[in-house]
Symmetry: C2
Subunit: 294 residues, 2 copies
């Protein structure tokens, strides 16, 4: 995971940081600058930014600060994107719903025809492999047409990360289509069929899979589940946000493994960390955003 994130090229990116008043966002921004990864532009009430930085002992001298307040903060960040002054945007201390409400206004050129989805990247210690997972952050109970965008965003991210053969496992609680009780199993089956049209480009999509049979070759083998994805998935599509959240928290919080996440589907990646993410996760997410722009 660390090796992957360390492949990010130095000194090529700029980032608008919205309301960077908390320690983790300030430390991650300062670290990213120090590491030569991105040039952050801090946007918010200048006095409050400077006070926070002083409180937490963070050096802001190398970072441009744009004094702004209220919704103007988010608008300024989006304007910087429109003017090609920044490559991407990061959210600090502002509500996610309110943030996207403004970011997605058509006058800013961030909205696209795709829907937004959260793509997380993490390592499952027991498998020693990197996984992308979507969507544990934005889409709560996506229908099939939203899942097409979720898969497309995740597959594209996997390609940007240099994953040779993208293997998408559509998660559910069982391996067979079970209707009408378990709609996620039908979506998994249909996504596999839809992928055969070539819509997602060269990749393997299969499912439904229970979690173990998607990620662990031994489990899949014991159950006699074949195909090119079983036990070897590197992209996991969860049926609902609760499932994604439980997998994500089990690995990041209980097993203390690093993770990174960005929101894709806009014209640029958007770094939208969770309230509970520490500065290491925020820094990893900044690096991920850089990698996902090639």
């Amino acid at each position: 995971m660390q090796r992957l994130l360390d492949t990010v090229e130095r000194g090529r990116r700029t980032m608008a940081v919205v309301s960077p008043y908390d320690r983790a966002t300030l430390v991650a921004s300062a670290s990213a600058l120090k590491d030569g990864i991105v040039e952050p532009i801090l946007i918010g009430e200048e006095r409050r930014i400077r006070e926070s930085a002083q409180t937490y002992g963070i050096e802001t001298s190398g970072m441009e600060i744009v004094d702004s307040k209220d919704e103007k903060i988010i608008e300024d960040a989006c304007d910087l994107y429109n003017w090609n002054r920044v490559h991407f945007i990061m959210k600090g201390m502002v509500g996610t719903g309110y943030f996207f409400h403004i970011v997605l206004e058509p006058r800013f050129k961030i909205r696209t025809e795709r829907i937004l989805s959260h793509v997380g990247v993490f390592e499952i210690p027991q498998t020693k492999r990197i996984f992308l997972m979507s969507d544990a952050g934005i889409n709560i109970l996506p229908n099939f047409s939203r899942k097409i965008h979720i898969v497309a965003n995740a597959v594209e991210a996997a390609r940007w990360l240099g994953i040779g053969l993208v293997r998408v496992g559509m998660l559910a609680a069982v391996e067979k289509v079970n209707l009408p009780a378990m709609p996620a199993t039908l979506d998994a089956f249909l996504m596999k069929k839809y992928a055969e049209t070539g819509y997602f480009g060269a990749c393997e999509i299969d499912g439904p899979f229970a979690f173990d049979n998607a990620v662990d070759p031994e489990c899949a083998g014991t159950k006699g589940i074949g195909g090119k994805v079983a036990g070897q998935a590197n992209v996991l599509i969860v049926p609902n946000i609760e499932t994604g959240n439980a997998i994500w928290k089990s690995i990041t919080c209980l097993q203390k493994k690093e993770a990174a996440g960005v929101v894709l589907g806009g014209a640029c990646p958007i770094v939208v960390p969770s309230r509970s993410d520490d500065h290491l996760t925020k820094l990893a997410s900044i690096k991920l955003a850089c990698l996902l722009m090639g």
Copy 2:
């Protein structure tokens, strides 16, 4: 976990085993007998049972075999329960839906006014604590009234296992009620309120919680989430079967920790193992069924 299951009293229970043709069911039955925990009565096509036992090198001489076939197998098991010949029933090689279709017929006295729910028991290695989780096996997307039964079954199970203060964490993806997007968050809030009426007896119920904030005191502390359950839950109620399945498989399959599960809500516990459970899990589930009868 092992210590808990080893508290089961010896030599007091009898169990009807439906269609014990597979290795894991036969080994678990023979081990349970050898350990002096239960006396299994094997029900199915006698020749097939004997052939399987011979193939897998399992001694059946101490076990009564009832020769039976087709749906008569399940009916015979239920009749043994009606006649007080067995204390509980275990499912072998027969479809779960078909199995319950017969078991729940009113002429057998197994159906009660409660709904059936699966209660799993496992250890989360990082926390070194025992957890009960429901429902990762029967109820797919339970509504609030079904959740009341699910909670009641799980709380009762926790008491039988000797857990002093039962702390129920209602899982979701966030800690706040979020409507109309996330109905599970409202159910969690309402369940807490309903528990205040005393319906579940002495126990603490709280939520909604993301997985980490329910089980890990450090995570809950970092996020400033208070109350008597946050970080200290010993019963987890999942919002849907996919979430339960992902948590269960992450711990049993990836982290190779023991687990046990039974179906509660009937007049006796019913052991309904998953296809992929090995003989250790099946034996642990037999022990759990014994413990849950006091």
